[in-house]
Protein backbone atom coordinates (compact mmCIF):
# COMPACT_ATOMS: atom_id res chain seq x y z
CA UNK A 1 0.00 0.00 0.00
CA UNK A 2 2.70 2.42 1.01
CA UNK A 3 4.80 1.38 -1.95
CA UNK A 4 1.85 1.80 -4.29
CA UNK A 5 1.21 5.26 -2.90
CA UNK A 6 4.86 6.21 -3.29
CA UNK A 7 4.71 5.73 -7.05
CA UNK A 8 1.61 7.92 -7.25
CA UNK A 9 3.17 10.53 -5.01
CA UNK A 10 6.25 10.59 -7.24
CA UNK A 11 3.95 11.44 -10.14
CA UNK A 12 2.21 14.09 -8.07
CA UNK A 13 5.52 15.58 -6.92
CA UNK A 14 6.91 15.79 -10.44
CA UNK A 15 3.71 17.34 -11.76
CA UNK A 16 3.57 19.93 -8.99
CA UNK A 17 7.26 20.69 -9.35
CA UNK A 18 7.24 21.34 -13.08
CA UNK A 19 4.10 23.46 -12.77
CA UNK A 20 5.57 25.56 -9.96
CA UNK A 21 8.80 25.99 -11.92
CA UNK A 22 7.25 26.61 -15.30
CA UNK A 23 4.04 28.51 -14.62
CA UNK A 24 5.59 31.92 -13.76
CA UNK A 25 7.17 32.34 -17.17
CA UNK A 26 3.97 31.36 -18.94
CA UNK A 27 1.99 33.97 -17.02
CA UNK A 28 4.72 36.53 -17.66
CA UNK A 29 5.04 35.94 -21.40
CA UNK A 30 1.37 35.04 -21.82
CA UNK A 31 0.06 31.63 -22.79
CA UNK A 32 -0.64 32.66 -26.37
CA UNK A 33 2.78 34.26 -26.93
CA UNK A 34 4.51 31.29 -25.37
CA UNK A 35 2.78 28.68 -27.49
CA UNK A 36 2.49 30.62 -30.75
CA UNK A 37 5.64 32.77 -30.46
CA UNK A 38 7.98 32.23 -33.39
CA UNK A 39 11.24 33.31 -31.73
CA UNK A 40 13.15 31.37 -29.12
CA UNK A 41 16.08 33.45 -27.87
CA UNK A 42 16.22 33.16 -24.08
CA UNK A 43 19.24 35.47 -23.84
CA UNK A 44 17.16 38.24 -25.39
CA UNK A 45 14.05 37.39 -23.37
CA UNK A 46 12.15 35.83 -26.29
CA UNK A 47 10.31 32.65 -25.38
CA UNK A 48 8.18 31.31 -28.21
CA UNK A 49 7.98 27.56 -28.68
CA UNK A 50 5.84 27.33 -31.82
CA UNK A 51 8.70 26.12 -34.08
CA UNK A 52 9.33 23.32 -31.59
CA UNK A 53 5.68 22.33 -31.45
CA UNK A 54 5.79 22.09 -35.23
CA UNK A 55 9.06 20.15 -34.96
CA UNK A 56 7.62 17.66 -32.47
CA UNK A 57 4.49 17.21 -34.58
CA UNK A 58 6.56 16.71 -37.75
CA UNK A 59 8.89 14.05 -36.39
CA UNK A 60 6.01 12.29 -34.62
CA UNK A 61 3.84 12.14 -37.72
CA UNK A 62 6.90 11.03 -39.69
CA UNK A 63 7.59 8.27 -37.17
CA UNK A 64 4.02 7.06 -37.47
CA UNK A 65 4.20 7.07 -41.27
CA UNK A 66 7.34 4.97 -41.08
CA UNK A 67 6.45 2.73 -38.15
CA UNK A 68 2.73 2.04 -38.44
CA UNK A 69 2.57 0.30 -41.86
CA UNK A 70 5.58 -1.85 -41.04
CA UNK A 71 4.32 -2.55 -37.53
CA UNK A 72 0.80 -3.56 -38.54
CA UNK A 73 2.01 -5.76 -41.39
CA UNK A 74 4.40 -7.41 -39.00
CA UNK A 75 1.61 -7.97 -36.45
CA UNK A 76 -0.63 -9.52 -39.13
CA UNK A 77 2.20 -11.76 -40.26
CA UNK A 78 2.97 -12.90 -36.73
CA UNK A 79 -0.63 -13.54 -35.72
CA UNK A 80 -1.91 -15.08 -38.97
CA UNK A 81 0.81 -16.44 -41.17
CA UNK A 82 3.94 -17.19 -39.21
CA UNK A 83 4.61 -20.81 -38.27
CA UNK A 84 5.10 -21.32 -34.55
CA UNK A 85 8.87 -21.63 -34.83
CA UNK A 86 9.19 -18.32 -36.70
CA UNK A 87 6.84 -16.64 -34.27
CA UNK A 88 8.84 -17.89 -31.32
CA UNK A 89 11.94 -16.37 -32.83
CA UNK A 90 10.40 -13.06 -33.94
CA UNK A 91 8.51 -12.17 -30.81
CA UNK A 92 11.50 -12.02 -28.44
CA UNK A 93 13.56 -10.41 -31.20
CA UNK A 94 11.05 -7.56 -31.44
CA UNK A 95 10.97 -7.20 -27.68
CA UNK A 96 14.74 -6.91 -27.84
CA UNK A 97 14.32 -3.94 -30.16
CA UNK A 98 12.55 -2.19 -27.28
CA UNK A 99 15.50 -2.95 -25.02
CA UNK A 100 18.12 -1.14 -27.10
CA UNK A 101 19.04 2.11 -25.30
CA UNK A 102 17.88 5.19 -27.18
CA UNK A 103 21.36 6.68 -27.27
CA UNK A 104 22.44 3.67 -29.33
CA UNK A 105 19.64 4.34 -31.81
CA UNK A 106 20.77 7.96 -31.99
CA UNK A 107 24.40 7.09 -32.51
CA UNK A 108 23.54 4.57 -35.20
CA UNK A 109 21.35 7.16 -36.91
CA UNK A 110 24.12 9.73 -36.75
CA UNK A 111 26.66 7.39 -38.30
CA UNK A 112 24.48 5.74 -40.99
CA UNK A 113 21.16 7.48 -41.64
CA UNK A 114 22.40 11.08 -41.43
CA UNK A 115 25.31 10.70 -43.91
CA UNK A 116 23.06 8.65 -46.20
CA UNK A 117 20.45 11.43 -46.32
CA UNK A 118 23.14 14.10 -46.77
CA UNK A 119 24.77 12.32 -49.69
CA UNK A 120 21.71 11.04 -51.50
CA UNK A 121 18.92 13.49 -50.75
CA UNK A 122 20.78 16.70 -49.85
CA UNK A 123 20.58 19.07 -46.91
CA UNK A 124 22.67 18.74 -43.77
CA UNK A 125 21.42 15.21 -43.09
CA UNK A 126 20.33 16.09 -39.58
CA UNK A 127 16.67 16.38 -40.40
CA UNK A 128 13.02 15.57 -39.77
CA UNK A 129 13.46 12.59 -42.09
CA UNK A 130 16.36 11.12 -40.12
CA UNK A 131 14.48 11.50 -36.84
CA UNK A 132 11.31 10.03 -38.36
CA UNK A 133 13.13 6.93 -39.55
CA UNK A 134 14.82 6.32 -36.21
CA UNK A 135 11.67 7.00 -34.22
CA UNK A 136 9.68 4.85 -36.63
CA UNK A 137 11.96 1.94 -35.75
CA UNK A 138 11.83 2.77 -32.04
CA UNK A 139 8.02 2.63 -31.89
CA UNK A 140 7.82 -0.72 -33.73
CA UNK A 141 7.84 -2.91 -30.58
CA UNK A 142 4.93 -0.95 -29.07
CA UNK A 143 2.87 -1.09 -32.25
CA UNK A 144 3.62 -4.70 -33.10
CA UNK A 145 3.01 -6.20 -29.69
CA UNK A 146 -0.25 -4.36 -28.97
CA UNK A 147 -1.67 -4.92 -32.47
CA UNK A 148 -0.69 -8.56 -32.39
CA UNK A 149 -2.36 -9.11 -29.04
CA UNK A 150 -5.55 -7.47 -30.21
CA UNK A 151 -5.58 -9.58 -33.41
CA UNK A 152 -4.97 -12.76 -31.44
CA UNK A 153 -7.68 -11.97 -28.90
CA UNK A 154 -10.42 -11.93 -31.56
CA UNK A 155 -12.86 -14.87 -31.27
CA UNK A 156 -11.91 -17.66 -33.70
CA UNK A 157 -15.44 -17.63 -35.15
CA UNK A 158 -14.77 -14.30 -36.89
CA UNK A 159 -12.08 -15.74 -39.07
CA UNK A 160 -13.74 -19.12 -39.53
CA UNK A 161 -17.07 -17.54 -40.42
CA UNK A 162 -15.41 -15.29 -42.95
CA UNK A 163 -13.54 -18.17 -44.55
CA UNK A 164 -16.71 -20.31 -44.55
CA UNK A 165 -18.46 -17.56 -46.51
CA UNK A 166 -15.88 -18.03 -49.23
CA UNK A 167 -13.55 -15.15 -48.43
CA UNK A 168 -9.86 -15.59 -49.14
CA UNK A 169 -7.53 -15.35 -46.18
CA UNK A 170 -6.52 -11.84 -47.23
CA UNK A 171 -10.15 -10.74 -47.52
CA UNK A 172 -10.88 -12.16 -44.08
CA UNK A 173 -8.03 -10.14 -42.61
CA UNK A 174 -8.84 -6.99 -44.53
CA UNK A 175 -12.62 -6.92 -44.05
CA UNK A 176 -13.23 -8.86 -40.84
CA UNK A 177 -10.27 -9.18 -38.53
CA UNK A 178 -8.64 -5.78 -38.92
CA UNK A 179 -11.91 -3.86 -38.44
CA UNK A 180 -12.73 -6.02 -35.42
CA UNK A 181 -9.32 -5.34 -33.87
CA UNK A 182 -9.49 -1.66 -34.76
CA UNK A 183 -9.63 -0.29 -31.24
CA UNK A 184 -6.53 -2.24 -30.19
CA UNK A 185 -4.62 -1.14 -33.27
CA UNK A 186 -5.60 2.50 -32.84
CA UNK A 187 -4.51 2.33 -29.21
CA UNK A 188 -1.20 0.88 -30.39
CA UNK A 189 -0.73 3.80 -32.77
CA UNK A 190 -1.59 6.37 -30.12
CA UNK A 191 0.84 4.82 -27.65
CA UNK A 192 3.45 4.82 -30.39
CA UNK A 193 2.73 8.53 -30.93
CA UNK A 194 3.33 9.17 -27.24
CA UNK A 195 6.57 7.24 -27.31
CA UNK A 196 7.81 9.11 -30.39
CA UNK A 197 6.82 12.48 -28.95
CA UNK A 198 8.58 11.83 -25.65
CA UNK A 199 11.84 10.41 -27.00
CA UNK A 200 14.78 12.74 -26.36
CA UNK A 201 18.27 11.33 -26.51
CA UNK A 202 18.13 9.69 -29.92
CA UNK A 203 16.38 12.74 -31.36
CA UNK A 204 18.89 15.27 -30.00
CA UNK A 205 21.63 13.49 -31.89
CA UNK A 206 19.96 13.43 -35.30
CA UNK A 207 17.38 16.18 -35.57
CA UNK A 208 19.71 19.22 -35.78
CA UNK A 209 17.94 21.27 -33.11
CA UNK A 210 17.57 24.50 -35.07
CA UNK A 211 14.76 26.69 -33.83
CA UNK A 212 13.12 27.63 -37.11
CA UNK A 213 10.08 26.45 -39.00
CA UNK A 214 11.16 23.69 -41.39
CA UNK A 215 10.57 24.12 -45.12
CA UNK A 216 11.06 20.49 -46.07
CA UNK A 217 11.56 17.14 -44.40
CA UNK A 218 15.29 17.51 -45.07
CA UNK A 219 15.50 20.55 -42.78
CA UNK A 220 16.64 20.34 -39.19
CA UNK A 221 14.10 21.15 -36.47
CA UNK A 222 13.98 21.21 -32.70
CA UNK A 223 11.39 19.24 -30.78
CA UNK A 224 9.96 20.07 -27.35
CA UNK A 225 12.00 17.33 -25.71
CA UNK A 226 15.28 18.24 -27.35
CA UNK A 227 14.77 21.87 -26.37
CA UNK A 228 14.88 20.80 -22.74
CA UNK A 229 17.62 18.26 -23.26
CA UNK A 230 20.01 20.49 -25.14
CA UNK A 231 19.69 23.65 -23.08
CA UNK A 232 19.14 22.46 -19.53
CA UNK A 233 22.84 22.36 -18.66
CA UNK A 234 23.28 26.04 -19.24
CA UNK A 235 19.91 27.43 -18.32
CA UNK A 236 19.45 29.74 -15.37
CA UNK A 237 16.67 32.01 -14.18
CA UNK A 238 13.92 32.71 -16.69
CA UNK A 239 15.58 30.49 -19.25
CA UNK A 240 15.27 27.54 -16.87
CA UNK A 241 11.66 28.38 -16.12
CA UNK A 242 10.95 28.47 -19.84
CA UNK A 243 12.40 24.97 -20.19
CA UNK A 244 10.10 23.76 -17.42
CA UNK A 245 7.22 25.48 -19.19
CA UNK A 246 8.19 23.56 -22.34
CA UNK A 247 7.96 20.48 -20.13
CA UNK A 248 4.42 21.45 -19.07
CA UNK A 249 3.30 21.67 -22.70
CA UNK A 250 4.92 18.32 -23.48
CA UNK A 251 3.40 16.77 -20.36
CA UNK A 252 -0.09 17.90 -21.34
CA UNK A 253 0.25 16.61 -24.91
CA UNK A 254 1.49 13.20 -23.77
CA UNK A 255 -1.23 12.97 -21.08
CA UNK A 256 -3.84 13.62 -23.76
CA UNK A 257 -2.32 10.95 -26.02
CA UNK A 258 -2.19 8.34 -23.24
CA UNK A 259 -5.69 9.16 -22.05
CA UNK A 260 -6.95 8.77 -25.62
CA UNK A 261 -5.27 5.38 -25.90
CA UNK A 262 -6.86 4.22 -22.65
CA UNK A 263 -10.27 5.52 -23.67
CA UNK A 264 -10.08 3.70 -26.99
CA UNK A 265 -9.06 0.37 -25.45
CA UNK A 266 -11.72 0.56 -22.73
CA UNK A 267 -14.53 1.49 -25.06
CA UNK A 268 -14.77 -1.89 -26.73
Amino acid sequence: MALALSSISALALITIFIIIQGAPIITEVGMFNFIFGMTWAPSQGEFGIFPMIVGSAAVTVGAVLVGVPIGICCAIFLSEFAPVSVRNFFRPAIQLLAGIPSVVYGFWGLLFIVPFIREHLGGPGLSILAASIILGIMILPTIISISEVSLLSLPRQYKEGALALGMTQWQAIRYVQLPAAKSGIVAAIVLGLGRAMGETMAVIMIVGNSVALPQSILDPVRTLTTNIGIEMGYAAGEHRQALFATGIVLFIVIMILNATAQYITRRK
Binding site: T39, W40, A41, P42, S43, Q44, P51, V114, P115, R118, G123, P124, G125, L126, I204, G208, N209, S210, V211, A212, P220, R222, I230, E231, G233, Y234, A235, A236, H239
Partner: protein, 263 residues
Protein backbone atom coordinates in the same frame (compact mmCIF):
# COMPACT_ATOMS: atom_id res chain seq x y z
CA UNK B 1 15.59 -13.51 6.96
CA UNK B 2 15.16 -10.38 9.00
CA UNK B 3 18.43 -10.99 10.82
CA UNK B 4 20.23 -11.54 7.55
CA UNK B 5 18.98 -8.21 6.28
CA UNK B 6 20.03 -6.48 9.47
CA UNK B 7 23.45 -8.07 9.24
CA UNK B 8 23.82 -6.91 5.66
CA UNK B 9 22.82 -3.40 6.68
CA UNK B 10 25.35 -3.41 9.48
CA UNK B 11 28.12 -4.45 7.11
CA UNK B 12 27.12 -1.79 4.57
CA UNK B 13 27.02 0.93 7.22
CA UNK B 14 30.42 0.01 8.58
CA UNK B 15 31.83 0.01 5.05
CA UNK B 16 30.41 3.47 4.42
CA UNK B 17 31.84 4.89 7.62
CA UNK B 18 35.17 3.30 6.81
CA UNK B 19 35.20 5.11 3.48
CA UNK B 20 34.21 8.43 4.96
CA UNK B 21 36.75 8.36 7.75
CA UNK B 22 39.95 8.50 5.69
CA UNK B 23 42.32 10.95 7.39
CA UNK B 24 44.31 13.22 5.06
CA UNK B 25 42.12 12.40 2.09
CA UNK B 26 40.66 15.45 0.31
CA UNK B 27 38.39 15.87 -2.64
CA UNK B 28 38.02 18.87 -4.93
CA UNK B 29 35.01 19.17 -7.22
CA UNK B 30 35.51 21.18 -10.39
CA UNK B 31 32.44 21.74 -12.59
CA UNK B 32 31.34 23.91 -15.47
CA UNK B 33 32.21 24.81 -19.04
CA UNK B 34 32.61 21.88 -21.41
CA UNK B 35 35.29 23.96 -23.19
CA UNK B 36 37.48 24.10 -20.08
CA UNK B 37 36.64 20.58 -18.94
CA UNK B 38 39.13 18.61 -21.08
CA UNK B 39 42.01 20.85 -19.95
CA UNK B 40 40.94 20.60 -16.31
CA UNK B 41 40.93 16.84 -16.66
CA UNK B 42 44.50 16.80 -17.97
CA UNK B 43 45.63 19.14 -15.20
CA UNK B 44 43.79 17.09 -12.58
CA UNK B 45 45.40 13.89 -13.78
CA UNK B 46 48.88 15.38 -13.50
CA UNK B 47 48.10 17.00 -10.14
CA UNK B 48 46.71 13.81 -8.63
CA UNK B 49 49.79 11.94 -9.80
CA UNK B 50 51.92 14.38 -7.82
CA UNK B 51 49.50 14.58 -4.86
CA UNK B 52 47.93 11.14 -4.46
CA UNK B 53 46.13 12.12 -1.24
CA UNK B 54 43.87 14.51 -3.16
CA UNK B 55 41.12 13.48 -5.56
CA UNK B 56 39.90 15.91 -8.22
CA UNK B 57 36.44 15.40 -9.70
CA UNK B 58 36.01 17.21 -13.01
CA UNK B 59 32.44 17.55 -14.28
CA UNK B 60 30.84 19.31 -17.26
CA UNK B 61 27.54 21.15 -17.29
CA UNK B 62 28.40 24.45 -18.94
CA UNK B 63 29.70 27.84 -17.85
CA UNK B 64 26.48 29.11 -16.27
CA UNK B 65 25.91 25.99 -14.26
CA UNK B 66 29.58 25.99 -13.25
CA UNK B 67 29.30 29.51 -11.91
CA UNK B 68 26.08 28.56 -10.16
CA UNK B 69 27.65 25.44 -8.66
CA UNK B 70 30.59 27.48 -7.34
CA UNK B 71 28.27 30.12 -5.91
CA UNK B 72 26.17 27.57 -4.03
CA UNK B 73 29.18 25.56 -2.94
CA UNK B 74 28.02 22.44 -4.83
CA UNK B 75 31.45 22.48 -6.42
CA UNK B 76 34.69 23.89 -5.03
CA UNK B 77 35.66 25.43 -8.34
CA UNK B 78 33.43 26.55 -11.19
CA UNK B 79 34.84 26.66 -14.71
CA UNK B 80 33.70 29.38 -17.08
CA UNK B 81 34.64 30.06 -20.66
CA UNK B 82 32.97 33.45 -20.69
CA UNK B 83 33.56 36.64 -18.76
CA UNK B 84 31.37 37.00 -15.68
CA UNK B 85 28.33 39.24 -15.97
CA UNK B 86 27.39 41.91 -13.47
CA UNK B 87 25.51 39.85 -10.90
CA UNK B 88 28.34 37.30 -10.81
CA UNK B 89 31.06 39.79 -9.92
CA UNK B 90 31.33 39.04 -6.17
CA UNK B 91 33.09 35.72 -6.54
CA UNK B 92 36.76 34.90 -6.40
CA UNK B 93 38.06 34.55 -9.95
CA UNK B 94 41.32 33.63 -11.64
CA UNK B 95 42.08 33.45 -15.37
CA UNK B 96 43.91 30.19 -15.95
CA UNK B 97 44.44 30.66 -19.68
CA UNK B 98 43.08 32.18 -22.82
CA UNK B 99 41.54 30.20 -25.59
CA UNK B 100 41.26 31.15 -29.22
CA UNK B 101 37.95 30.64 -30.98
CA UNK B 102 38.43 28.89 -34.29
CA UNK B 103 36.05 29.03 -37.23
CA UNK B 104 36.19 25.55 -38.68
CA UNK B 105 35.15 23.97 -41.97
CA UNK B 106 35.50 20.54 -43.46
CA UNK B 107 38.98 19.86 -44.91
CA UNK B 108 37.37 19.19 -48.32
CA UNK B 109 36.00 22.73 -48.45
CA UNK B 110 38.07 24.85 -50.89
CA UNK B 111 37.60 27.96 -48.72
CA UNK B 112 40.65 28.84 -46.62
CA UNK B 113 39.80 32.33 -45.55
CA UNK B 114 36.84 34.57 -44.74
CA UNK B 115 36.73 38.26 -44.01
CA UNK B 116 35.29 39.30 -40.68
CA UNK B 117 32.27 40.78 -42.42
CA UNK B 118 31.66 37.63 -44.46
CA UNK B 119 31.80 35.61 -41.26
CA UNK B 120 29.16 37.84 -39.66
CA UNK B 121 26.90 37.54 -42.69
CA UNK B 122 27.33 33.78 -42.86
CA UNK B 123 26.21 33.41 -39.27
CA UNK B 124 23.32 35.88 -39.45
CA UNK B 125 22.04 33.86 -42.40
CA UNK B 126 22.42 36.62 -45.01
CA UNK B 127 24.95 34.53 -46.93
CA UNK B 128 23.55 31.04 -47.44
CA UNK B 129 25.64 29.65 -50.29
CA UNK B 130 29.36 28.88 -50.35
CA UNK B 131 29.45 30.36 -53.87
CA UNK B 132 28.85 33.84 -52.43
CA UNK B 133 32.18 33.71 -50.60
CA UNK B 134 34.13 32.11 -53.42
CA UNK B 135 33.51 28.44 -52.76
CA UNK B 136 31.44 25.69 -54.36
CA UNK B 137 27.82 26.24 -55.28
CA UNK B 138 26.37 24.55 -52.22
CA UNK B 139 24.19 25.53 -49.29
CA UNK B 140 26.09 26.50 -46.15
CA UNK B 141 25.23 24.26 -43.21
CA UNK B 142 25.69 26.41 -40.15
CA UNK B 143 26.48 24.70 -36.90
CA UNK B 144 26.18 26.69 -33.69
CA UNK B 145 26.11 25.95 -30.00
CA UNK B 146 23.05 26.18 -27.78
CA UNK B 147 21.82 29.24 -25.90
CA UNK B 148 23.75 29.76 -22.68
CA UNK B 149 26.89 27.97 -23.90
CA UNK B 150 30.11 29.82 -23.12
CA UNK B 151 31.44 29.20 -26.61
CA UNK B 152 28.29 30.60 -28.21
CA UNK B 153 28.40 33.57 -25.83
CA UNK B 154 32.03 34.22 -26.77
CA UNK B 155 31.25 33.95 -30.48
CA UNK B 156 28.33 36.38 -30.23
CA UNK B 157 30.41 38.81 -28.23
CA UNK B 158 33.53 38.62 -30.40
CA UNK B 159 32.06 38.26 -33.87
CA UNK B 160 28.51 39.55 -34.02
CA UNK B 161 27.92 43.30 -34.06
CA UNK B 162 25.20 44.88 -31.93
CA UNK B 163 21.81 43.79 -33.17
CA UNK B 164 23.23 40.84 -35.13
CA UNK B 165 22.20 37.38 -34.04
CA UNK B 166 23.03 33.86 -35.12
CA UNK B 167 20.19 32.78 -37.40
CA UNK B 168 17.69 30.37 -35.83
CA UNK B 169 18.14 28.18 -38.93
CA UNK B 170 21.57 27.14 -37.65
CA UNK B 171 21.91 23.56 -36.48
CA UNK B 172 22.53 23.44 -32.75
CA UNK B 173 24.88 20.98 -31.07
CA UNK B 174 25.50 20.80 -27.37
CA UNK B 175 29.27 20.32 -27.16
CA UNK B 176 32.53 21.27 -28.86
CA UNK B 177 33.05 17.60 -29.62
CA UNK B 178 29.81 17.15 -31.52
CA UNK B 179 30.40 20.38 -33.49
CA UNK B 180 33.79 19.04 -34.56
CA UNK B 181 32.36 15.60 -35.35
CA UNK B 182 29.64 17.14 -37.51
CA UNK B 183 31.95 19.54 -39.35
CA UNK B 184 34.38 16.71 -40.04
CA UNK B 185 31.63 14.64 -41.65
CA UNK B 186 29.71 17.32 -43.61
CA UNK B 187 31.65 18.95 -46.48
CA UNK B 188 29.38 22.02 -46.57
CA UNK B 189 29.32 22.83 -42.89
CA UNK B 190 30.90 25.61 -40.87
CA UNK B 191 31.07 25.90 -37.10
CA UNK B 192 33.06 27.46 -34.30
CA UNK B 193 34.96 25.77 -31.52
CA UNK B 194 37.77 26.11 -29.06
CA UNK B 195 41.11 26.62 -30.87
CA UNK B 196 42.77 24.04 -28.63
CA UNK B 197 40.31 21.40 -29.84
CA UNK B 198 41.01 21.86 -33.55
CA UNK B 199 42.59 18.71 -34.95
CA UNK B 200 43.20 17.45 -38.47
CA UNK B 201 39.61 16.31 -38.99
CA UNK B 202 38.59 19.96 -39.46
CA UNK B 203 40.29 23.09 -40.83
CA UNK B 204 40.45 26.41 -39.00
CA UNK B 205 39.80 29.33 -41.36
CA UNK B 206 42.03 32.39 -41.61
CA UNK B 207 40.19 35.58 -40.68
CA UNK B 208 41.06 38.66 -42.75
CA UNK B 209 44.25 36.83 -43.72
CA UNK B 210 45.30 36.02 -40.16
CA UNK B 211 45.70 32.34 -39.32
CA UNK B 212 43.99 31.01 -36.19
CA UNK B 213 47.03 30.02 -34.13
CA UNK B 214 48.08 30.47 -30.53
CA UNK B 215 51.00 32.69 -31.67
CA UNK B 216 48.64 35.06 -33.45
CA UNK B 217 46.43 35.26 -30.36
CA UNK B 218 49.45 36.16 -28.22
CA UNK B 219 50.69 38.74 -30.72
CA UNK B 220 47.20 40.23 -30.82
CA UNK B 221 46.62 39.83 -34.56
CA UNK B 222 43.97 37.10 -34.18
CA UNK B 223 41.17 38.70 -32.21
CA UNK B 224 38.85 35.82 -31.45
CA UNK B 225 39.79 34.65 -27.98
CA UNK B 226 38.17 34.40 -24.59
CA UNK B 227 39.23 33.86 -21.00
CA UNK B 228 39.08 30.50 -19.25
CA UNK B 229 38.15 31.27 -15.65
CA UNK B 230 38.17 29.36 -12.39
CA UNK B 231 35.60 30.69 -9.96
CA UNK B 232 35.14 30.02 -6.31
CA UNK B 233 32.72 31.38 -3.73
CA UNK B 234 35.51 32.57 -1.47
CA UNK B 235 39.28 32.69 -1.73
CA UNK B 236 40.19 28.99 -1.95
CA UNK B 237 41.97 27.12 0.85
CA UNK B 238 43.53 23.71 1.40
CA UNK B 239 43.39 21.22 -1.45
CA UNK B 240 41.52 23.64 -3.73
CA UNK B 241 44.19 26.32 -3.31
CA UNK B 242 46.89 23.73 -3.89
CA UNK B 243 45.29 22.69 -7.18
CA UNK B 244 44.95 26.30 -8.38
CA UNK B 245 48.56 27.09 -7.40
CA UNK B 246 49.62 24.07 -9.42
CA UNK B 247 47.76 25.32 -12.50
CA UNK B 248 49.28 28.79 -12.22
CA UNK B 249 52.79 27.39 -11.69
CA UNK B 250 55.18 27.33 -14.68
CA UNK B 251 54.62 23.57 -14.94
CA UNK B 252 50.84 23.92 -15.06
CA UNK B 253 51.11 26.68 -17.66
CA UNK B 254 53.43 24.52 -19.73
CA UNK B 255 50.82 21.75 -19.76
CA UNK B 256 48.14 24.18 -20.91
CA UNK B 257 50.39 25.61 -23.61
CA UNK B 258 51.18 22.14 -24.87
CA UNK B 259 47.45 21.43 -25.17
CA UNK B 260 46.98 24.45 -27.43
CA UNK B 261 45.85 27.08 -24.94
CA UNK B 262 47.46 30.44 -24.37
CA UNK B 263 48.57 30.70 -20.71
Amino acid sequence: MKFKLLGLLAILTSLLTACGGGGAYARVIVAGSTSVQPYSEILAEEFVFLNPEITIDVQGGGSSSGIRAASTGTSDIGMSSRALNEDEMDYWVVEIARDGLAIVVNPQNPIHELSFEQLQHVFTGEITNWGEVGGNDARIHLIAREEGSGTRGAFEELVMADGQFITPRAIVQSSNGSVRQLVSSDPNSIGFLSLGLVDDTVRALDLDGVAATAENVISGTYNLFRPFLYISREAPEGATAKFIDFILSPYGKAILAEEGLIP
